[in-house]
Symmetry: C2
Subunit: 284 residues, 2 copies
């Protein structure tokens, strides 16, 4: 008998992984959560039938969502993480001794509980002293904050279901307010390749541009996400992720990474023409 997990990347495209067994299946107040074991990708977990991370390639996503802002401003001390229930983002942030406090706001406690049980590879730092875990709606949490963080990382699901509010104008405006004058906002920015994802990406980008003077997009190869071509948004009040990158400073930290390096950091902001055109602010 063969067991296969199949994900619909669009109505016309499917990606399937042979699995050894299903380790968990459950439903929280917000979404369905499943954990599988596979030969190719190790353990992986899905929310509402979409892969969130696999043991094999989670390093790519977490390297790129954390080290790009951290290398741009090595003086980041207070970080707000929204979403990221698997703990991978907090794990990477925890490697910086300069960080004093990480507030993490995950709407779904069950995601954290399940990841702690099945994915210690990513969840390993969630109980660290520097980390304050809030099980709340990130949208509401950030409304109450002002001039408080050096960095906000929005490590959300796609812009439908529980993650929807994290792609709204109101949310980006509140992030701007919650950041201090050095503030950087990084978010997962969907894929440019399939039309449905590209539409969300365009809309999100257009909204962020209204608040932040510096707005860039960078890319990475994430084979288990639709199309494998994934984007991240970098918005900030003053830091430019290319000209303000101090390569020597970051390299002197001695942080070993499997994906990120400072050449790749710069290279990841060089986008294909068709992606750049998607982000031109046309009236529609």
């Amino acid at each position: 008998m063969e067991l296969w997990y199949t994900e619909e990347h669009t109505d016309n495209v499917r990606f399937s992984i042979k699995i050894d067994k299903q380790l968990y299946s459950g439903k929280s107040e917000f979404q369905r959560i499943d954990v599988f074991e596979s030969k190719e990708f190790g353990k992986f977990f899905t929310l509402d039938g979409l892969i969130m991370l696999t043991e094999k390639d989670e390093f790519i996503y977490h390297d790129m969502i954390v080290h790009v802002p951290m290398a741009t401003n090595p003086n980041i001390k207070k970080v707000l993480v929204i979403g990221a229930g698997d703990g991978g983002t907090v794990r990477e942030l925890s490697r910086y001794k300069t960080i004093e406090r990480i507030d993490m706001v995950e709407i779904d406690k069950l995601v954290v509980d399940i990841c702690k049980e099945y994915l210690p590879q990513t969840a390993c730092q969630l109980d660290s002293e520097k980390v304050n875990l809030y099980f709340e709606d990130g949208l509401k949490f950030v409304r109450t904050k002002e001039n408080e963080y050096d960095l906000i990382i929005v490590d959300s699901t796609d812009p439908f279901g529980p993650g929807e509010g994290l792609f709204t104008k109101e949310f980006y405006g509140n992030c701007y307010k919650a950041l201090n004058e050095n503030g950087i906002l990084v978010n997962q920015h969907e894929s440019p390749y399939y039309e449905s994802y590209a539409k969300s990406m365009k809309r999100a980008h257009k909204r962020i541009v209204e608040f932040f003077p510096v707005c860039k997009v960078y890319q990475a190869h994430i084979p288990t996400y639709p199309s494998g071509h994934w984007l991240f948004g970098f918005a900030s009040k003053k830091y430019n992720p290319i000209t303000d990158l101090d390569e020597n400073a970051w390299n002197s930290l001695g942080i070993k990474t499997k994906y990120y390096n400072t050449d790749l950091h710069k290279g990841s902001f060089a986008l294909p023409n068709y992606v750049k055109e998607l982000m031109v602010n046309k009236d529609e």
Copy 2:
């Protein structure tokens, strides 16, 4: 009724495309050839059950295999193309007025015939005056050449089946000999992500390094190839694809591209750490 095309990226990973209909299926002396029509990717063709190109994303592959060497040395006049039966590489080369002659060697005439019939989008320049088409084994063709080409592009299938000889030491040595003192060799270099592909990539890279003083690898996002993370090899006798790139010279040509630009050119050589490690020449 739904029709799906399914490709095995590894024994444990499958990629499936919903198709409207199959346009062609046949067998040449060398391989099985199929052409399909799909909503998501337009027409696409496969050799021995592996996607070679789709109308939707062939621009990515062809931009990257052609414009990177052409922008590195704008004085390229004589080009040898090996494989590339679909014609996409020749189409992109044909946009350079400076190129005087393109010799194209495709082992399988049926591939060219089928692409001319079903994929005029890529095959459109195969009958151009500058193009000499040879239906021969590229491995044998290149043996007879000496000091003749400015650029050789190896646009082959994977290193098993008919493409196997195009990943051998003998072949790379003959390419070196067939190139003049300005010579550049570019080849499709497989993917670093799945182990079976990464192995071929390592082996090929190790062999090229033995002949060429300049050896680099660059990457692109090609969603319909396994993992979507695809590499190209750049080897040359003297040109460095980063320091010798004259951005203004290329931009002044006015060649419109959907993927390639000169920032991306530079960025594409910045590789993830895990890919760089694969290419370290360890004794094995």
